[in-house]
C-alpha cells in the first residue's frame, strides 16, 4: 500500500523522546490492587480466626496479584502481602495441626 512512498518520510531531526505515561493506576486494570487488598484481608482473617482456608485464599490472592502486576509497580508491596499470607498459613497450621476443614463443614 502506502509504504512505497517515493520520498523518505523520516525526519531524524524531529525525534521526540519517549515520555513514560504517568501511572494512571485507576484507569487501567485494577486487578493487582484488588487482589493485594483481598489477600491482606484474607490473611488477617486467617490469622485472627485461625481459619486455614482463609490463609490459603490469601496465598492465592497474592499470587494472582503478582502475576498481574505491572513492571512499573514496585514489588515490595506484593512481596509483603505474600509474606503475610504465608505466615498466616504457617501460623494456622502450627496452632492447629488438624487437617483443614472447608468452610461448609
Amino acid at each position: 500500500m502506502s509504504s512505497s512512498t517515493p520520498f523518505d518520510a523520516r525526519r531524524p531531526n524531529k525525534i521526540h523522546r519517549y515520555k513514560p505515561k504517568d501511572t494512571n493506576a485507576p484507569g487501567d486494570d485494577p486487578t493487582p490492587d484488588y487482589m493485594n487488598l483481598l489477600g491482606m484481608i484474607f490473611s488477617m482473617c486467617g490469622l485472627m480466626m485461625k481459619l486455614k482456608w482463609c490463609a490459603w485464599c490469601a496465598v492465592y490472592c497474592s499470587f494472582i496479584s503478582f502475576a498481574n502486576s505491572r513492571a512499573s509497580e514496585d514489588t515490595k508491596q506484593t512481596l509483603s502481602s505474600f509474606m503475610l499470607s504465608i505466615s498466616a498459613v504457617v501460623m494456622s497450621y502450627l496452632q492447629n495441626p488438624q487437617p483443614m476443614t472447608p468452610p461448609w463443614q
Partner: protein, 429 residues
C-alpha cells in the same frame, strides 16, 4: 533489577511452600502418633489392668517398649487382640469393644489396616488431601504463569521483528525507552507480563507513535479473554472527528461515529473501504481525533479547565486466532500497519478548517462544563448561607442575613434568564 527481584520472589515462594508442605506433613504424623499414644492411656476398667504387660509387648514390640511398664497401656488393645485371635466366634464382642472405645486412633499398628474401612472413612481422605490440593493448585498456577509469560514474550518479539523493517522505513527512531542519554533504538518495553509497548518517532507530521501490544493474560489462569487486542496510538498534527451517528457503505458490522461528515468521507475513500472490508474481523476500532485527551477520567467529575489535548489517530486491531494466536498470525498484521500509515498520510492533507471547527466545538464543551462547575459552587454557597441563617440565634442578625439572601435570589433569577438565552444561542450555532 526488577526482573531479578521478581525471580527471587518466585524462588522464595516456591521454597516456602515446599517447606511448608514438608513441615506440616511431619507435624501431622508426629501429632497423630502422639495422640494415639496418649489415647492409649485413657480410662479403662481396673480389671483389665492385670497381667497384660507381657502380652502387650508381644503385640506391639516396636512401639510400646518404653511404655510397657505403664499398667494401663494398651489393655483394651490386648483384650481385643486376644479376642481377635480367638477368631470368628468373637466377632460380636469385638464390635462391642469397638463401640465403647474412643477411636480408631487407639489402635495403631496392624489394627489400623483392618479398621480402615470402618470408623470414620471421611477423615482419612481429608487428612491431607485438602492441603495437597492447595499446593497442587498453586503449582499449576505457577506453571501456567511461566508458560504464559514465555508465550507472550515470544509473540511480542515476533511482532517486533516482523514489523521492524516497516517501522524503520517510516520512522527514524524505533524503540526508545526514554532513559538512555543517547538516542538508541530497538527497545521493546515490557509494561507488564501481558502489555508491551514500543515508541517510534521521527516522521513527517507525526510526533510519535506508541504501539501497545495488549496480549491475553496468559500468565494468569483466572483471566481468559476471547480476543487479543492491539491498540496503536498515533499522534498527528491534524484532524477532527467526534460525536454523531452515521452509516456508510462499508460492511454493516461497522458503526461510524463522526461529527464532521466531510472528514469521514475524505478518509473513507475507496482504498480504505476495501481494506476495511478485507480485514473486517481484525479491525477493532479506528479513532481519529483532533483533540484526543486520553481515556475519560471517570473519577474527575468537576473538570473546569481543558485537559491537555493532542490530535491523534488511534487504531485498534485484533490479532486473529482468538486466544490461540501463533507467531505466524502476527505477521499478517503487517498489512494493517500499512493501513495506518496510509491514513496518516491522508490526514496530512486535511487542515485548518477542521481544526477551527473542532476548536469551537471544544470550547463550547469546556465552557458549559465551567458553567456547571460555577453553578455548583454557587449552590454550595447558598446552602451554607442558609445554614448560617438557621443557626443564627440573634434575631437581628438573622433578619439581616435573610434580607441579603432574598436580594441575592432576585439577582440570580435575573441572571438565570439571561444565561438561558445565551445558551440557546450557542446551541443553535
Amino acid at each position: 533489577m526488577g526482573n531479578t527481584m521478581r525471580l527471587l520472589f518466585v524462588v522464595t515462594v516456591l521454597l516456602l511452600t515446599g517447606l511448608l508442605g514438608v513441615g506440616s506433613k511431619k507435624a501431622h504424623s508426629d501429632g497423630d502418633f502422639e495422640d494415639n499414644e496418649f489415647a492409649e492411656f485413657e480410662d479403662f476398667d481396673d480389671e483389665e489392668e492385670e497381667g497384660t504387660v507381657v502380652e502387650e509387648d508381644a503385640e506391639f514390640p516396636s512401639e510400646s517398649e518404653s511404655q510397657g511398664q505403664a499398667a494401663s497401656a494398651g489393655k483394651n488393645d490386648d483384650d481385643d487382640d486376644d479376642e481377635e485371635e480367638e477368631d470368628e466366634g468373637v466377632v460380636e464382642t469385638e464390635d462391642d469393644e469397638f463401640d465403647h472405645m474412643m477411636d480408631e486412633e487407639e489402635f495403631i499398628g496392624f489394627d489400623r489396616d483392618t479398621r480402615a474401612g470402618k470408623g470414620k472413612p471421611h477423615d482419612v481422605p481429608d487428612l491431607k488431601i485438602a492441603k495437597m490440593l492447595m499446593l497442587a493448585g498453586l503449582g499449576v498456577y505457577f506453571l501456567n504463569f511461566l508458560a504464559g509469560k514465555t508465550k507472550n514474550s515470544k509473540l511480542a518479539q515476533a511482532w517486533f521483528t516482523s514489523h521492524k523493517t516497516l517501522l524503520d522505513e517510516n520512522f527514524s527512531l524505533v524503540g526508545d525507552d526514554g532513559t538512555s542519554k543517547e538516542v538508541a533504538g530497538g527497545t521493546l518495553m515490557k509494561e507488564s507480563e501481558n502489555i508491551y509497548t514500543l515508541w517510534c518517532s521521527g516522521r513527517t507530521c507525526v510526533e510519535g507513535m506508541l504501539v501497545e501490544l495488549k496480549l491475553i493474560k496468559r500468565q494468569d489462569l483466572i483471566n481468559v479473554m476471547a480476543t487479543l487486542l492491539k491498540p496503536l496510538a498515533d499522534q498527528i498534527s491534524q484532524f477532527a472527528e467526534k460525536k454523531g451517528v452515521e452509516k456508510y457503505n462499508i460492511p454493516s458490522s461497522f458503526q461510524m461515529l463522526s461529527e464532521i461528515p466531510e472528514a469521514s468521507s475524505f478518509i473513507l475513500d475507496k482504498r480504505v473501504c476495501s481494506a476495511l472490508e478485507q480485514y473486517e474481523s481484525q479491525i477493532e476500532y479506528i479513532h481519529i481525533s483532533d483533540q484526543y485527551s486520553g481515556p475519560k477520567n471517570q473519577y474527575d467529575d468537576a473538570q473546569t479547565k481543558m485537559p491537555e489535548v493532542t490530535p491523534s489517530l488511534v487504531f485498534c486491531f485484533n490479532v486473529p486466532g482468538k486466544g490461540k494466536t501463533r507467531v505466524s498470525d502476527i505477521e499478517g498484521t503487517v498489512v494493517l500497519m500499512k493501513l495506518v500509515f496510509y491514513c496518516v498520510d491522508k490526514a496530512r492533507t486535511k487542515a485548518e478548517r477542521n481544526r477551527q471547527k473542532a476548536e469551537e466545538a471544544f470550547l463550547k464543551l469546556a465552557h458549559s462544563q465551567r458553567q456547571e462547575a460555577a453553578q455548583q459552587r454557587r449552590e454550595e454557597k447558598r446552602r451554607q448561607e442558609k445554614e448560617r441563617i438557621m443557626n443564627e440565634e440573634d434575631p437581628d442578625r438573622a433578619r439581616k442575613l435573610e434580607e441579603k439572601e432574598s436580594k441575592r435570589d432576585m439577582k440570580r433569577k435575573q441572571a438565570r434568564t439571561k444565561m438561558m438565552k445565551v445558551k440557546g444561542i450557542l446551541l443553535m450555532l
